[in-house]
């Protein structure tokens, strides 16, 4: 397997985990060629996760905006409420196959933590989730769910107490428990083979969209829009369309309070080349390579890096990455609630907000597909506070 996407990716990992990463790659390659593994994974995606998810024509939003046709890929309808379980299940199956009895994960919004705890419960594995203390507070619903599912939730208080610090702590824990523990990384980040594995486990989203849109419209979409934190839902929906050059791919980053402030997480807009969490990619860093504290209203997008495959898509101009502020995301959130009767995750609302800007500029015969990466129950308190509801 090639661990690079152009110059991005690689394995910038401590020596202690190198043999484990090599073993992981070998086991993963074997697993995906094993019919029984694929069969079990597909069965679980269907009967447990509830796939395939609908590709829903957002008639009201389309009419209101008066431009291109808007389709919503309903990853919010998956079991556990987001796209995260597609990947957590795949990795957990691999962990089971490798005989690991314990899984750990980092989590920002908590959805990957819940997905990992879910998979661990199903496979009878011990589970510990690392979550920034800032995120524990703003995504309390998910913390309760993880605990109910039997996971230990460990608050991370170092650094900014958000996603990047949770990844650091998970990595440290992995190094300490390397023999018996499988680290289930929740996004398309980390040292090889993780970005590739995560993309492969999330590509079911894009694969389904392709079949569905051809059925409904007889042609491929003009635009696919998805929010990008580490980049798992976005690479999942983008990947099957990369070779379809007429399909424009748009990743939406969190601009927080604005990319001209120091309160954002817009990695592509304001980042530079560097190494973080085992990968060469774009990061938000100062000129000495110190990683910048980032901010976004959305815990899941609050990350100073981006998956290496996205960095590559950006550099080769195959995909474009645009910033959306907290305010725009909250407006998008409310718009979808009121117009379509769907409460999106605040992360996904960033993609919705971009479509609200984009669709009116496009002719009515164009098609835009938005990845609705998750549901927003976990966010209602935060949004209610912002809006004074």
């Amino acid at each position: 397997m090639n661990g690079r996407f152009g110059k991005f990716g690689g394995q910038y990992a401590p020596e202690t985990i190198m043999n484990v990463l090599i073993e992981l790659e070998t086991e993963y390659e074997k697993a995906i060629k094993d019919e029984k593994f694929i069969e079990e994974y597909k069965y679980l995606l269907k009967d447990f996760v509830g796939r395939e998810t609908p590709l829903y024509f957002a008639k009201n939003l389309t009419e209101k905006l008066g431009g291109a046709k808007i389709y919503l890929k309903r990853e919010d309808l998956n079991h556990t409420g987001s796209h995260k379980l597609n990947n957590a299940l795949g990795q957990a199956l691999l962990a089971k196959r490798m005989g690991k009895k314990r899984v750990i994960a980092e989590t920002g919004a908590g959805q990957h933590g819940v997905a990992t705890a879910t998979a661990a419960a199903m496979f009878g594995m011990e589970c510990e989730i690392f979550m920034g203390e800032e995120d524990i507070e703003r995504q309390a619903l998910n913390v309760v769910r993880m605990k109910m599912l039997g996971a230990k939730v460990t608050p991370v208080t170092t650094g900014t107490g958000t996603l990047k610090d949770a990844v650091n702590e998970a990595m440290r824990n992995w190094v300490e428990n390397i023999e018996n523990t499988f680290y289930i990384i929740g996004s398309a980040v980390g040292p090889h083979p993780y970005p590739t594995m995560v993309r492969d486990f999330q590509r079911v989203i894009g694969d389904e969209v392709k079949v569905q849109i051809l059925e409904k419209e007889g042609r491929l979409p003009d635009y696919i829009v998805a929010c990008v934190g580490g980049g798992s839902n976005s690479i999942g929906i983008f990947y099957p369309f990369i070779e379809d050059k007429n399909v424009k791919l748009i990743g939406v980053e969190a601009a927080g309070l604005g990319i001209d402030t120091d309160q954002h997480a817009a990695t592509i807009a304001k980042g530079s080349l560097g190494v973080l969490h085992g990968m060469m990619t774009y990061l938000l860093q100062d000129d000495e390579g110190q990683i910048m504290p980032v901010y976004s209203i959305s815990a899941g997008l609050d990350y100073p890096g981006i998956g290496p495959e996205h960095a590559y898509l950006m550099e080769t101009k195959r995909a474009k990455y645009v910033p959306i502020t907290d305010q725009e995301a909250v407006d998008g959130f409310m718009e979808l609630c009121r117009i379509e009767g769907i409460i999106p995750a605040i992360e996904s609302a960033h993609a919705v907000a971009e479509v609200i800007k984009l669709a009116p500029k496009l002719p009515k015969d164009q098609i835009v597909v938005v990845n609705l990466s998750g549901r927003g129950d976990k966010d209602v308190d935060t949004i209610a506070k912002v809006l004074g509801i």
């Binding site: 985990i17 190198m18 043999n19 190494v275």
Partner: protein, 266 residues
């Protein structure tokens, strides 16, 4: 000849083990770092590791994490650490190695970083998140400037030890446990077996680090290796001191105790 090689040659002739303490440059501040280095050398340190403070030290436990945070809060920058080394070099020829995370080197500029190391008198660099597979470019640069890129092995490395130590320079940093840095009461790895395996692959001096927290542990493990590294335990002494003078005194005394424990007349 590189100061590291000279030091190990001298120690070998006397059949002595090397003591390598670690401090974070800039914790509590860079002036104190100069005093710490000089005092520790006086107290018996053979080589000194200087940590370049970093925002996300993935291989470090809480003691060194907090040490790094303190140094960064105090404004430590790579260029000011390089100046600190210049100040040290006015008074000492003690071998110095940086402990630095790869992004710091990468962002600063690999060639710029290594060139400055050579210029100010840093003898080697240890990069804990750069495995052998990613070392080709930086090795070329390091060789060009005569700065040693210290190979690092872990108990999980096994057959990788061969390629990691091949053409290695300085010494082999042997991480004692599967874990991060930190004070430990005991080390569960079979150190004898581990060090035997390493010496099957290389003749380089083997330095054992992570978790060695006191004189007893140093004495226990000295027979299996050629050097003992002490990091978090030294940092703790510095952090727990009442003021900077006491920090330097306590660190020096601690180093003297460990040196005594690993000396031949023990």
């Amino acid at each position: 000849m590189n100061r590291i090689d000279k030091k190990f040659e001298t120690l070998r002739e006397k059949n002595e083990k090397a003591l390598i303490p670690f401090v974070t440059a800039g914790d509590p501040d860079l002036d104190t770092t100069v005093e710490l280095v000089l005092a520790m050398e006086q107290a018996g340190a053979d080589i000194i590791e200087l940590g370049i403070p970093y925002s996300d030290p993935m291989a470090d436990g809480i003691v060194i994490q907090q040490s790094s945070t303190r140094a960064l809060k105090n404004g430590a920058k790579i260029s000011s650490v390089m100046n600190t080394v210049k100040d040290i070099r006015k008074k000492s020829q003690v071998p110095l190695v940086y402990l630095v995370y790869y992004n710091s080197v990468f962002k600063y500029g690999m060639e710029k970083f290594i060139k400055e190391c050579s210029y100010v008198g840093v003898d080697g660099i240890i990069i804990p998140d750069l495995p052998i597979e990613e070392r080709k470019d930086i090795t070329e640069i390091a060789d060009k400037y005569g700065v040693y890129l210290i190979p690092l092995v872990a108990p999980t490395s096994k057959e990788r030890i061969k390629k990691i130590t091949h053409n290695g320079k300085g010494f082999v940093y042997c991480v004692s446990t599967t874990g991060v840095t930190g004070v430990r009461q005991e080390i569960s790895t079979d150190i004898k077996e581990y060090m035997d395996i390493v010496s099957q692959y290389t003749d380089m001096p083997r330095a054992l680090g992570f978790g060695i927290s006191n004189a007893e542990m140093a004495a226990k493990y000295k027979k299996y290796c050629d050097a003992i590294i002490v990091g978090s335990a030294v940092i703790k002494k510095i952090a727990e001191a009442g003021d900077k003078k006491e920090a330097v005194e306590n660190a020096a005394k601690f180093v003297a105790d460990i040196k005594k424990a690993i000396s031949n007349n023990q």
